[in-house]
Symmetry: C2
Subunit: 349 residues, 2 copies
Amino acid sequence: MRVAVDVMGGDHGCGVAIQGAKRALEANPHIETLFLIGDKAEIHAALPPGGFRDHRVKVIHASEMLTMDDKPVAAIRKKKDASIVRAMEMVNDGKADAVVSLGNTGGIFAAATFKLGRLPGVERGAIAAQIPTQNGFFVLLDAGANVECKPLHLAQFAVMGSAYFRQMFNCARPRVGILSVGTEDTKGNELSLAAFALCKHLDINFVGNVEGHDLFEESVDVVICDGFVGNIVLKTIESLAVAMFTILKHELKASTRRKLGALLAQYAFRAMKKRMDPEVYGGAPMVGFNGSVMKSHGSATDRAVANAIGVAAQNVQSHVNESIARDIAAANQRIAALAAGQTPPATQA
Amino acid sequence: MRVAVDVMGGDHGCGVAIQGAKRALEANPHIETLFLIGDKAEIHAALPPGGFRDHRVKVIHASEMLTMDDKPVAAIRKKKDASIVRAMEMVNDGKADAVVSLGNTGGIFAAATFKLGRLPGVERGAIAAQIPTQNGFFVLLDAGANVECKPLHLAQFAVMGSAYFRQMFNCARPRVGILSVGTEDTKGNELSLAAFALCKHLDINFVGNVEGHDLFEESVDVVICDGFVGNIVLKTIESLAVAMFTILKHELKASTRRKLGALLAQYAFRAMKKRMDPEVYGGAPMVGFNGSVMKSHGSATDRAVANAIGVAAQNVQSHVNESIARDIAAANQRIAALAAGQTPPATQA
């Protein structure tokens, strides 16, 4: 297992990514090689005195980097020695198995698309965000990569999300739903309804439409939508969670009595915060590519980066991509049969 | 001021709506007449012994009602004596000024569209949901009436939302934003980008794109999106708020120490809950119609119904519809000028 970490592009310089890599190596003995990819001088300046003292670490110099202002596709084409381009090329060349980056999301996605390429039969890669609920979580995809989608794309997200969830979380038949405006089969817009018509013929555990009210009810494992809806939903959730903690904090400070109560109950708030903490996952995987790609937040801490590296490694170990490729091939056959007016074979569900 | 309350269609029979009407009459002396519309026998059975003892109340019999299973448009056409149809007709006939209903949202919207009609120049009515933030709130439209929209519809939602907010909340130039996947002008899907191109030429305080992260930052007053996105966002917010309270409750019960803390801080939780409470608004107005229409939740309490009636009354008193009609006429002129290749006059913003 070899992981290529693009250490450039985080909000706080490459030190955080390097610290994260250190933590990840300590926690994941099965990582054989960890490449730190970026500006050599900056990396060496950020390394602890005496270097890493872990023979698994290799520094790969890249003279350029993508900034948050770069237009993804144009930048990937122009900056041939950008760290994220080099990272993707290492996987493409068979020198690494997974890429982790804190950089520009669009840039990572574009680099994955053009330098790594999609798995056979996959029409669009997608960002799969893991969102915590009371006792578990669900995976939402696409969380922002594709603002315009066709029904086939959504159907493939369903297949990829199902395979991802099954392999990563040891769940035989994850429940897959399409995010819509009601749970009835007839509710939705043109896109969601057409995707519904495809999904019900796929060999996934398709539970039909789910609506916003269902998201935190733990009745669905994989939630499908286009990247426009997904990005808005993901950010709305993050934003409301922060707002509610702020309101709670404010209210708990309003009197001495409340302050005392807050002190006594402080571990309840900590536990709650921990449960909602996006750092646990460290970032979001990009699925559908010829290699494992993990996007970490630009403001990620070293702990988040370490977790992202851990998830990327698990992705490889769990054979997520092999499963996606196999399931997509089967799904595409079913969809082709449907398009030809034939009835695809019955599903297990 | 005369309000027509469709008392049928709530989850708990007509008693809740009637109790809500009673509370609303006590709180709103400027309501001259309040019509209770529905099955006469059911209404009389639900009235307090001796009736209402308020001369402002009039019972109007309607022999039919819309159920949650009814297909809105078909049901409105078929059930000519449905309570919601009668309520809309009363406004259309000049006998009432506003309609309040706890029934099937699609049914209310269809009845408003076909029996009341849209204000001149308005292409689509919309549901405007008021969503609380830490120190205030924002209005989101469309919250679910139109799952497919054109750019013109979104631009008109911007104008209607702006007029609604200005009149209802005494705010000269409410900030209007388009819900998108990033704040940059170039971020969005085809629909949101085309709506952006129109909105920047309208005489509204257009702040451009807003993303999920901005929603609770109090940087925008009116948030525009199609009804598919709006409905998902609204329900996701409601669902997450409930989930977070559930987690908090669970965590606070985990030890005696936490329980004691929770007891001391109980008013903080109550204040927080009150702030997030959708019952304060009682429901969501449907804007763009020839009359004030307020949709209350099927499971609304009498307090929520009373608040909904209060909001409907305020809608009439604040001349929301006159303002919408005037602003839409001006906006349509600007949009027509744009379509003709002319530059519309500069806006105030």
